[in-house]
Amino acid sequence: MLVRIMRLGRPAERFDDVPQRVRQEAVVALGQKKILQRIGPGLMHALIFWGFIVLFPTIVIAMIGAVDKGATLPWLGHQGWFAFLVDLFAVLVLASVCAAFYIRKVVRPARFEGSHLGEADLILLWIAGIVTTLLLWHATRIALGINEWPASWSPAANALSNLFGTGQPTETLERVFVWAHVLLILSFLAYLPYSKHLHIITAVINVYFGRTTPRGRLEPLVFDDPDVPEDEIRMGAGTLTDMTWKQMMDTVTCTECGRCQEVCPAWNTGKALSPKLLIMGLRDHMLEQGPKLLAGDEEAAGVPLVPNAVTDEVVWDCVTCGACVRECPVSIEHIDHIVDLRRHLVMAEARFPAEADPMMRDIERSSNPWGKAQQERADWSEGLGVRILEPGEQPPEVLYWVGCAASFDERARQTAVSTAKLLQAAGVDFAILGPRESCTGDPARRMGNEYVFQAFAAENVETLNDAGVTKIVASCPHCFNTLANEYPDFGGRYEVMHHTELLAQLVRDGRLAATAGSEQITYHDSCYLARHNDVIADPRTLVEAVGTPVEMANHGKRTFCCGAGGAHMWMEERGNAINEERVRQAAETGAKTLAVACPFCTVMLDDGVRTSGSDLRVADVATLLAESLEDG
C-alpha cells in the first residue's frame, strides 16, 4: 500500500549516479557510519543490525528445523565458524538490547520526547525473544546431542546446554523453542509494516536514494517546462501528492530516534520545531490521507500539509543549519522538506511572516535584502584602491564576491576591508563587481521564493559569464555555497573558494606572513561552511597563525548555528535566542576572542555578545589576520 501511495507522489531524480549510491549504501547502511556518529547507541544498534544480517540464515535453518527435526541447511548448518558467528552475535544482540533498555529506561535522553516509546520497547522485547529462543533452541539441541555443528564452536549455547538433561522434557523444550522462535519471527514480520521497525526495509532503500549532490544545494523547481501546463507547475509541497516519492519514503523511514531533535538549534531554544516531529507529522498525514486518496476520496487530495501535518510556526522556525540532516542515520533530508513546504506557502499562497515582507520586496526591487541602492555597493572600498570590474574589461585572475552583508552592514564591512587588504598584500590579482554584483538570492531561496531566486541566479550568471570570470572567492559562506553548489544548475560553473580557503593557502605558501600570538581564540564554524561544505580545517589554519585556538564542545560538523540561516537574519525570534546560546557556549571556553568566517555569524554573535553582556570580541578571521600583519 505504501508503494501505491508513493506512486501518487511527484518524481525525483534519484536514479542516476549509481556508483556513488552503491558506495552510500555500503558505508551508511551496511557500515552503519551515520549511526556510529554517536558511539554508544551507535554501537548498540550496529551490533543488532549486523547481528540481523549474520543471523538471517538461522531463520531459514529454524524453519527447516521446525518442520523436520533432523534437518538443517546443507553445508552452512554444519559449519563451525558459522555457528561461532551466530553464537557470538546472538549474545551481542542480547547485550545490545539490554544496553538499549538501559538507555531508554535509565538514561532517558531528551531526544525521545515525542517518540512512541511503547512500540520501541515491544520491538526490543521481540528481538530479545528471538535471539533468546535461538540460543535456547541451540542449547537444547546440544543437550540432546542432535546439533549439526560442533558444539564447542558455540560457547554460549554450549554453556546453556548444561541446563538441560537428555530426557523427554528437553525433547519437548527443543520443539517448543524452535516453534517459539519461528512464531516470534513470523509475527515480527507481520507486525513490521505497522511499526517504525519498517525502517529495516525502508532505510535500506532510503539510503540508496539519498542525495548524491552537494549538501548545500537545493533542488531547483522548473517553471518553464513547455510540457507542463501552468496550473500544474510544482511549487513545492502544498498537499500530500505534491511531495516527491523520496520525501514520502523519508517519512516512513523515520525511526523516531530523535538525534535530529537533539541537535536542532530551534528546538534547543524553546521553539516549536523538532525535525523528528516534523517528519513524524508528515508521516501521520501520509498514512491518514494516503489510503483515502487511493480509495478515490477527492477531498483528501486537497488537505493542505500546512497547518494539518505541520504548523506554520514549525515551518518558519528552521534556520537550515543541517544539523538534523547530519545526524540522521537513515538519510532523511529534513531541509528539503521544510524548504518545499516554504516554497508552496510563499509562491503559491504568498503566506509568510510579515516581517520578512520588506526583505523579499527589497531583494527583488533593490537587488539586495538591505534595500540599499546598488549604486552604493562598493562604497566600503573607497580609498582602498580596489579594482571595480567594468563591462568589457579583462577579467581578474580571481573575482572577489563581496556579498550584500559585507557591502551594506557596518559590522560585516570590516571583513571586506580586511580581505581586500590581505589580497592586496599577497599580490593577488583580484577585482570586485561593485554595483553589478546582485544578491546571490540565497535568502530568497531559503525562504522558499524559488522564482525570485532563479531570476537572480540567471542574472548573476550572465554577468559573470559575460565578464569571463573563472575563479571566485567569497567571504560569505552563503554566497560561497550558492555560487559553488547552486549556480551550476543555471549555467554558472566557476572555481569557487571561501575566503578562508584562499587566505589559508596564501599563509601556507608564505605569501602572507602572520605573527603568531598567544591570545586565546575560539573559532565558530559556520553551518554553511562546515556542515554543508566541509570547510573546517582552513579557517583553523588562520586562527592558529594568529593566536592560540581553543575549541567549543560543538565544533566542526557538530557546530551550533548562530541563528541567521534560513532567512532568519530578517525574521523575529520567539523563545530564547539561538545566538545568545551560542555566545554562552563560546564564553564557556574562556577565550577572549570569538573568531568567525561569515558576515551573518559576525552580526548575530556580536548581537548576542551585546545582549548577554559578555566581553567577547567577535571578529572575522580575515580581520584577525589583517591585524596581525599590521602588528608584525
Binding site: 517553471f223 501552468e230 503559491a348 526591487r365
Partner: protein, 254 residues
C-alpha cells in the same frame, strides 16, 4: 464595475541622489524601479474592489517601455489588463493629464467607461500633486484627494482623508476620480501563479502626444548644505547626558 489605476515607474533611490552629467535626470544605472508608493496602494485597492464586487480593472502608465515591468507587477496582484502610453520624454503635470485623458477618451469611444479612476496623490519623484485633479475636471467628475480609506456602495464612494485628530469624510457619486495615499491598505505580495498569469495578460501600447509644457524643466540640482557631518555626541549609553543637553537647549526639558 470598471476601475482604472494610473501608476508611474519611479527609481528607488538610496541614501544619496546622483545626477546625470547633463543635469537632466537622476542617474538610474544600478537603481531598481518600482510603482510609486501611493499608487501601489491604489492597485491593491482596485484589485480588492473588483474581487468583492466583480468587474474589470485596468492599469495604465505613461512612461518608457521599461514601465512594462511595473504594469506586469500590477497585473500579478490581480489587475486584468494594462495600457502603456509609451514615451521616453518627461511630461509635466498638464501634459501627463492630457495624455491620460486622451487615452480614457479613446477607451470611451471603444465603449469602455470607468466607474472609478485611482491616481497616486503625488508621484514620488516629480511631486506635482495635480494629475488626478486635472483629469477629473476634464471628465467632469468629482475628485477626492489624499484618500486613506474608501468604501464603494450603491454607486457612491465614501472616502476618508487623514487630518490631525481624525479623518474627514467625503461622499461622492460614481463615476469619480480618487487620489490615494500610502496607508490606504497593505499591498499583497504577488504569488507565482499571479506572476505567470500576468505575463500573458493583455498589454496594449499607445503613443501619447506630448503637449507643450506649462512647467518646463531647465535642470535638476541637489540641495545645498547636506555635506556637513553631524556632531558626534558620544558613543553608546555614555552619550546620554549630551543628548539630554540638546533636548534641554531645545526647550523640551524643564
Amino acid at each position: 464595475m470598471n476601475i482604472l489605476v494610473c501608476v508611474k515607474r519611479v527609481p528607488m533611490t538610496g541614501g544619496t541622489i546622483v545626477l546625470t552629467p547633463d543635469e537632466q535626470a537622476i542617474e538610474t544605472r544600478h537603481l531598481g524601479f518600482t510603482i510609486s508608493p501611493h499608487e501601489e496602494c491604489g492597485v491593491e485597492e482596485a484589485v480588492r474592489l473588483i474581487e468583492a464586487q466583480g468587474g474589470e480593472s485596468v492599469v495604465l502608465s505613461l512612461g518608457p517601455s521599461d514601465a512594462e515591468e511595473q504594469l506586469r507587477d500590477a497585473m500579478a496582484l490581480g489587475i486584468d489588463r494594462a495600457i502603456l502610453l509609451q514615451t521616453d520624454e518627461e511630461f509635466d503635470g498638464q501634459a501627463t493629464a492630457a495624455a491620460i485623458l486622451a487615452s480614457i477618451e479613446a477607451d470611451r469611444a471603444a465603449g469602455v467607461e470607468y466607474d472609478l479612476i485611482f491616481f497616486g496623490n503625488e508621484s514620488a519623484d516629480s511631486g506635482n500633486y495635480q494629475v488626478g485633479i486635472r483629469v477629473a475636471h476634464a471628465l467632469g467628475r468629482p475628485c477626492v484627494t489624499g484618500v486613506k480609506g474608501i468604501t464603494v456602495e450603491n454607486g457612491r464612494a465614501r472616502c476618508e482623508q487623514e487630518v490631525p485628530g481624525g479623518r474627514d469624510v467625503y461622499d461622492v457619486a460614481l463615476p469619480a476620480v480618487v487620489t490615494v495615499k500610502e496607508g490606504l491598505n497593505l499591498p499583497r505580495y504577488p504569488s507565482v501563479p499571479g506572476r505567470l498569469r500576468a505575463k500573458r495578460k493583455p498589454l496594449e501600447t499607445r503613443s501619447p502626444k506630448r503637449t507643450a509644457p506649462g512647467v518646463e524643466k531647465i535642470r535638476l540640482k541637489l540641495p545645498e548644505g547636506d555635506t556637513s557631518q553631524a556632531e558626534i555626541l558620544g558613543h553608546g549609553p555614555a552619550a546620554a547626558p549630551a543628548v539630554v543637553d540638546v533636548l534641554r537647549r531645545a526647550g523640551l526639558v524643564a
